[in-house]
Symmetry: D2
Subunit: 342 residues, 4 copies
């Protein structure tokens, strides 16, 4: 059994980690911490867990996290960078679901996240945990930077095109739509039901924190700097990300075959048949990314549709996928749920 | 392994049966029938099942249902009553998720359902599959009438009060609210998103088909005829039933203790602590019924709040719970999912 | 023209007052105050008002409210009671959309609202602004306590039965459902879209602040103390209240005729034909209350269905209706919008 | 007074025409037709109209439409083309809210709409009723082809860029999102609440009927053929369109000034200040189009955000705007409502 600790379990990625890890056959949750909720039963806060989990939130100081095999950080940005080093020294492996170790260029990170990095030395070591790209590196990683929700859907969508070198990388467009849970379990006016329901809007068009993360990932695959326009939108739904990606083709290619081949051995990427359109609910509650490839009117613009559950493949599920790889387990263990539909 | 057939798998109870049975460790789905969709891949219609199930809809005539150990009817009312008899003769057990065998009084059934009963002889034999009441009968049943969604939530809510004989059974009120999936996967104007979303209404106040079913169940427990006012409402949500039940207390009693004791050994009924209010999402995607008991201002009116997922404890999950009991399996096998929240 | 001031215009009742008063032919909005938003354009906060209103939020100290003919308080509870007296002394009439002057029993008010009343002397003078009951008193009132949203829907529903004296007033039940905007424009976790959407729950069953207000109103009409069980619920929709009311009939009566007669001259109460069910969207954006009367299975329980838009007939619209009456205008002036459907 | 007839009033554009025309000070609705609902009170079908309209659906044969000054067709595609000619001959002006007269190239129209055009002669005469482009032509038109919902939002968004000639017209992208009412009031499975709620998807990527209409409009402004990729999406909301438009700038220009100048005299186009993002609810229930202009990271890609209410500026409201222009009335008469928020 893998002894696991969770730091910061009161948000949506926290409750999803709990839901998935509770039924994972090779995991024992040793501690879940929260400064604000010390002593509260986890199942009193998240009533879906009643009868399944018997654990209280503990103070980080009392949680004996350094006795764990693995610690997940489901915290706001800026927490893991302060605690990861001492855990690693104690031999604990770390998966950070926040952004602290995602951007290799520390100055760039500090600009977008508005704080000084507490642990720049570890940034280089951290493995960006997108298994479909970095599986081999994940196997031996001590520290995983778990990808953001938008970056996961966008990178998986563009990946085959970039690897094949068949698009103009100077004019990539990612028009992406997210459910409201992407904003987290924070009390804010603009994500109230009365504000966000029956409504649709773009936000962050001048610049969004996931932009440098996506550009870094795409550029790494393309092996040169890509230029990307990234426009996130807020959808009146709870979960789900839908990325609509546009690129200009620079040569003729069988797009459907390209995608099917690239992902044929990936358990969590499903390429739909020609002509289909994935919908977010088809992955609700699961770790799957479904992708469709289109070339409208047989023109030179390729349109990729990529959907994920932002809390699972975009957060908690991908973290567990990384854990499975790190500990030599079957990659799908405990995260093979069938999406909930309707 | 239990060899299972499903008749009529294109509705919401059908897809839920498929989702749950696919991962059930003791079940093999042999056939799923649909006259209208013969030859279509199940996973093409329900894309959540892609990668998990490799089965086509077959014509009932080709499905060899009489070779199965068990057949589920996930059909409209009036189908199972025509086919159950021959299956039973072939030694196949039957669980009908529709209403054909729920009402013992055949004339009453015919009045509410507007058709002649094709098989009145089997009505008496059929066991009403609410395990919390009829577990022993279910064990040996050949034919299960699986309860309706409203009746499940209402009966589990009233049950302890009726068994204890502490309420006036002449003035029961069930004010019940259902998500839109309760209306089924049928193309109708009033359940369109543009009609049902951001809206709330009662319907069927003069009379609803679940009224006689609920009254039969409650009267059977009370051992005399109860009088019930039942008002169903349509909630702009996908899944979930919330029953708010009112009764006049006829004696003093510790209500919280009564409910906790009654359900202490029930895996799928969860009595909340004093003062709590269950929410439908706390059971979303699960077979659980959560109940809270209130006595506002310490007056003589008891208020019971009872929530279920209408497609699971109110349909497919309860059917599988019955199957587990009938075949001597652990009652929770394959239906122990943790609800999906948020 | 009536010169109007609005105190506290940053909530949902505030923006609705602005929307309706901006197009009211006899009103000039002189000032809208907000301590936190001083200097901000109203239309920058509420973008629906762009092009229709050219006003900034001002500090209450600078607003010259005592030069107005009428001041609306669209503030949290506890504000109007501190400012009403000096305005009245200056000859300004006041309509409080919060609860400060609704409960005649000051001790009762203090218990439910958890604060000391700053101005108990004015409570007796304040007129409870439900025009369908108190129209004559409203005409000459200086100070109006505008009813709460739940109390409006419930009182209009029970009114004809109580006036006619045909029900048992010791066992009234009000099972009421509200859209999320009823909780106001406040940043709170439980009303986030990701929490409240696709979900349904009761709340406040042990006791809700609108209970004493409703009981006071019903008892006043019944001319003796009624006993009421009031259970509010949260519906995943933006606007709308649906009250389902239950009472035991004590004599035979033509219920439909009773309701039609009682409301035949009321512009804002619409009694539906026999057998119909009102839906909340049928009053969305309007000042109308629609009511249907049912007597299921011809039994002794009467079921009343009453719907309103909580922000209009339950708040801003009713306040303007009161204003129209106070200033001798046509009662429907400026609030005769047709509901928005779909 | 303008005597108006409405052909086909049972869909969403029909009920919106009724809502708006009922309160229009210069309009008298003489007849509304529906073959399927003859004799039914309009207000029985659309309960929001109760108390505001006293009209029954009539058979087209009895409606005396040729006595009207103006007839609106709120019918499916293919109806107006059969009836417009005889009405025009009788001196009646016609506004078709469907697509029959929108595409000048009849062969192209027949390909996309899958039927033979019944009246190709009138196609040339018909004026495409986008007042912001064709106001002068609308004034004297006998026959208006009222634009589609997607085409309105997209054309108003691209218009200033095309007129100024500052973008590469060979790679336009329109990523557009629509509320479910855009699919009409038709009983279909994929727009059921249980299917469309809490879900997001693209559709029609290989080709959508609004593509030729948009391309025709944009090409006409650009004075040469544009190349456009158009991807429509379905949003789980009732009303609203959000177009996210992408183009490559070919020269430096002050985009904000360009847009503000182009639309400074347009009553129904609102250009937001720099850096803002319009949301669909800010135009809910109104005839307004709100637009924001962005140039992310000061790169060469311009991003335009354009929102409308698909049933109003995208249908009924724009039709009335055209009517106002045709009959010499103030262009905003009767359609100057403030959007409903929240």
């Amino acid at each position: 059994m893998i002894n696991v600790g969770i730091v910061g379990g009161t948000g949506y990625t926290g409750v999803e980690l709990l839901r998935l890890l509770t039924l994972h056959p090779k995991v024992k949750i040793k501690a879940i911490t929260s400064r604000s909720e010390v002593g509260i039963n986890v199942a009193d806060m998240f009533t879906n867990l009643r009868g399944h989990i018997d654990l209280k939130f503990t103070d980080p100081a009392d949680a004996k996290l350094n006795k764990c095999d693995l610690v997940f950080f489901a915290t706001p940005n800026g927490i893991a960078m302060k605690q990861a080093e001492s855990l690693l020294k104690a031999g604990v492996r770390v998966i950070d679901l926040a952004a602290d170790f995602r951007i290799k260029n520390v100055a760039e990170w500090e600009k977008w996240y508005g704080m000084q990095h507490a642990c720049p030395d570890l940034v280089a070591e951290a493995v960006y945990g997108l298994p479909e790209i970095n599986r081999e590196l994940v196997k031996n990683a001590r520290l995983i930077a778990n990808p953001g929700c938008y970056p996961t859907a966008v990178q998986l969508g563009f990946l085959p095109l970039l690897e094949a070198g068949v698009i103009d990388i100077n004019h990539l467009i990612a028009d992406v739509k997210s459910g409201v849970s992407g904003a987290g379990r924070k009390a804010e006016v603009h994500t109230l039901h009365a504000e966000a329901s029956d409504n649709f809007k773009a936000y962050g068009v001048p610049g969004h924190r996931h932009l440098p993360e996506i550009k870094q990932g795409l550029s790494s695959v393309a092996k040169k700097m890509v230029s990307l326009t990234f426009v996130p939108h807020l959808v009146p739904m709870i979960r789900g990300i839908h990325a609509t990606l546009y690129a200009k083709l620079t040569q003729k290619i069988n797009l459907q075959a390209l995608y099917e081949k690239r992902y044929q051995n990936e358990a969590f990427v499903d390429v739909l048949p020609t002509g289909k359109h994935p919908e977010t609910r088809s992955v609700r509650g699961s770790n799957i990314c479904r992708i469709a490839v289109h070339q409208p009117q047989n023109g030179d613009t390729v349109v990729i549709l990529s959907v994920t559950d932002n809390l699972i493949k975009g957060a908690a599920g991908q973290a567990i996928q990384n854990m499975n790889i790190m500990f030599g387990l079957s990659e799908t263990l405990g995260i093979n749920q069938i999406p909930l539909l309707p």
